[in-house]
């Protein structure tokens, strides 16, 4: 089952098209990466999903039902620009936001205790938010996002501004939620994080989706048949007649081949010419490379 199905979603503001017929599905229980350069329409799209704004046309299904105003209580949204009431106490703030999501006073209180204990911040419950460090505020923000046990969690650049310790903490929580079946939509332009975390991605640029699929599929689609060969001894002297050499040093060479079947022949050729091969690996493109290739560095940034 898909948690979210977007079909031809279009949104225009007077001056420009924010989303131009975007379609993709988010399968239940997956971590889904929404990628795109700044200004690609990620935030506009998220605002449509969270029902902050409405799409001009196209259809959005949330767990099979057309998206309506009752759905936001099943969605947790952490915006890129974090915001909390600075003068409000930690516990009051978390309770308030949980209740706005539809929790009763008692439910909100129970969950509050659970999370305060989990993050080991019970001592901070009566501190005002403005007295907390930035990392601590991020933790509070995260709690307010997930406290109502959303089915779909939307995280817009969740690690920006976090130190490695806190980033890991949040990452562990995301993993935990994922294991418990929460679907996560992870919006970012930091590719290395996507590669580590996401299973599926969609890449949008200038309001249109240019690419979607599982991370492996995408990499496969964009691979350039680069192979890395670790060797000892000497390479055949006429090697460049057969393959294009990308880089080379005394023990390693990177070559570009025509296709996968070519790899076998190339390996045979090396062995035949007495080169001692110690490792032979295909180099898959990183998502970063895919991203740059598609966007071409011509984003609106």
């Amino acid at each position: 089952m898909n948690v979210l199905e977007l079909k031809d979603v279009r949104k225009t503001y007077q001056e420009h098209v924010a989303c131009n017929n975007i379609s993709f599905d988010i399968p239940e229980g997956k971590i889904f990466g929404l990628l795109g350069p700044n200004g690609a329409g990620k935030t506009s799209l998220i605002r449509i999903i969270t029902t902050i704004t409405r799409a001009d046309s196209g259809s959005i299904l949330f767990r099979g039902e057309p998206l309506n105003s009752t759905h936001p209580s099943q969605i947790g949204y952490m915006a890129e620009e974090r915001g909390l009431y600075k003068k409000m106490k930690v516990a009051e703030q978390i309770t308030y936001l949980a209740r706005l999501k539809g929790f009763t006073k008692k439910e909100a209180k129970n969950e509050l205790e659970y999370w305060l204990e989990k993050f080991d911040i019970q001592d901070w419950r009566n501190k005002k938010v403005e007295e907390l460090s930035k990392g601590m505020q991020q933790k509070i923000q995260f709690i307010t996002t997930v406290i109502h046990k959303p089915k779909l969690l939307i995280l817009d650049e969740p690690f920006s501004g976090l130190d490695p310790v806190n980033a890991n903490l949040i990452r562990d929580e995301i993993d935990d939620l994922h294991k418990n079946g929460t679907t996560i939509l992870f919006s970012t332009h930091r590719m290395e994080q996507v590669e580590q975390i996401c299973e599926h991605i969609v890449l949008i640029n200038k309001g249109t989706n240019v690419l979607s699929g599982s991370v492996d599929e995408v990499k496969d689609q964009f691979k350039e048949f680069l192979f890395k060969v670790d060797y000892q001894g000497a390479l055949p002297s006429n090697i460049e007649e057969h393959v294009t050499i990308i880089s080379k040093d005394a023990t390693q060479v990177v070559v570009k081949l025509r296709d996968v079947s070519h790899a076998n022949n190339f390996l045979k050729y090396l062995l035949h010419h007495g080169t001692m091969v110690t490792a032979f690996n295909e180099i898959l493109p990183t998502l970063n490379e895919v991203f740059i290739k598609i966007v071409g560095g011509k984003s609106d940034e």
Partner: protein, 440 residues
């Protein structure tokens, strides 16, 4: 609906629990009373006598008595010295200045009388008044002698006129002289109250909207509540804070005044006496006080308070929603929104001017038309209501205000919903119009 209550609750409690709220609520009445006490002391101790030398070489004022004559707050004295010599020594002799009467005719036909004043400091307004009054009284006495008019004859020329109004339409048989005066005071109080609530709490709504926007918390909030709910909750919550504050003041202020009044009863009486003798005003008369007290009971307070609250709430909603819209449009830059705030502030300020004019002339056509104009009505109508305007006018005015209030709250909601998500762009009036008609 329950979300709206949550928002109202947060807006209300977060303000009421604030130290600044508690402090202002407690200390504002104390401050008022303290300044009142200070005023009493200043006024009673300000009657410092000033010695001024009077030189009248030609004896125009015919002052026979030697020594000192007290007039107002100035002491006159008649040193046997020439002006020239006195100019050198008057300070050593203990005088603040010298009044010199130059040679000039003085008879019953004189309309202008010149005197000269020498001193080392500039002439204060009080001193000048006292000198003028003292000399004028002396001149008057001389003129009366010349015209052969005595004090009694002069008094007989004075006649007090009492206007006894009878409103033939009103059901009350008797309308006392004091009714209009009391109505003026009551009307002014209500006008000032509504004016300050709109201004102070309207601004509070605006700042709070701006804060949520710059905080970016608004993005999180409106994914769980509708922007309109958020705005409405804020307006109601802040309004309730205002009402709470006024309710507390309504109890504490009179109590404090009463307490201070009892504590300084002696001092007050003394002050009142000195005021009545010096200005010879007819107030402070026991009979008058009784009549005022009587008349105070003749107002229909249920009606007045009901009308007050209708216009109070209508006016507050009308303006607070506009302030909310401006706050949403502004963002973090204070200066940028100044022109927008000004546009809202102008009608309130004009309304206050109109209201002050209407207080003096409650049945004028200005008053009637201004109370039909919804942006002025919240301030003007409560002023008029104490003067028993026709019922249909009150109702029409209230209905117009309510409709406009609802309409503008809705309109502001539309501006607000777009504005709070707009960042890094200067907002103009043109944008406002665009936002109003923009789809979700």
């Amino acid at each position: 609906m329950s979300k709206l209550w949550l928002i109202i609750g947060r807006e209300y409690l977060s303000r009421v629990k604030k130290k600044t709220f508690i402090l202002t609520t407690i200390f504002a009445p104390i401050g008022f009373v303290l300044s009142w006490v200070a005023l009493i002391f200043i006024m009673s101790s300000g009657n410092e006598t000033q010695k001024v030398a009077l030189l009248d070489p030609s004896d125009i004022l015919e002052i026979k008595e030697k020594g000192r004559l007290r007039d107002g707050l100035v002491m006159y004295s008649y040193p046997k010295k020439e002006l020239k010599g006195l100019k050198e020594t008057f300070e050593e002799d203990g005088y603040r200045g010298i009044i010199f009467i130059p040679e000039q005719p003085l008879d019953s036909m004189t309309t202008k009388f010149k005197i000269e004043y020498y001193s080392n400091e500039s002439l204060g307004l009080n001193t000048e008044e006292n000198i003028k009054e003292g000399i004028e009284q002396r001149v008057k006495k001389l003129k009366m002698l010349q015209l052969d008019v005595d004090e009694l004859t002069l008094k007989r020329l004075k006649t007090g006129i009492d206007v006894i109004p009878t409103n033939m339409k009103a059901s009350k048989e008797e309308v006392s002289v004091y009714r209009a005066r009391i109505a003026t005071v009551l009307g002014s109080i209500m006008m000032i109250l509504i004016y300050s609530v709109i201004f102070i709490y309207g601004n509070m709504v605006m700042r709070s909207v701006m804060e949520e926007k710059t905080n970016r918390i608004v993005e999180v909030l409106i994914s769980s509540v509708k922007p309109f709910q958020l705005m409405l909750g804020k307006i109601i919550g802040v309004g309730a804070v205002g009402l709470t504050q006024f309710a507390i003041w309504a109890v504490t202020l009179p109590l404090l005044y009463l307490g201070v009044g009892l504590l300084f009863a002696g001092k007050l009486q003394e002050l009142q006496q000195s005021m009545t003798t010096s200005t010879a005003s007819p107030t402070g008369n026991m009979g008058d006080m009784m009549a005022i007290m009587q008349e105070l009971q003749n107002f229909d307070y249920t009606y007045i308070i009901t009308v007050f609250f209708i216009f109070f709430i209508g006016g507050y909603f009308l303006y607070a929603s506009l302030f909310a819209a401006v706050g949403a449009a502004m963002g973090d830059d204070w200066g940028e929104g100044q022109s927008l705030t000004l546009i809202i502030s102008i009608p309130i300020i004009i309304a206050l001017y109109v209201g002050s004019a209407v207080v003096r002339n409650p049945t004028s056509s200005l008053g009637i038309w201004a109370s039909m104009f919804p942006f002025f009505a919240p301030i003007v109508m409560p002023v008029r209501v104490v003067f028993d305007p026709p019922m249909y006018q009150v109702i029409i005015s209230a209905v117009i205000l309510m409709i406009t209030g609802v309409f503008f709250t809705w309109l502001s909601g539309r501006i607000y919903r777009v504005g709070i998500l707009m960042y890094g762009k200067k907002t103009s009036i043109k944008d406002f119009a665009k936002w109003m008609f923009r789809k979700d």
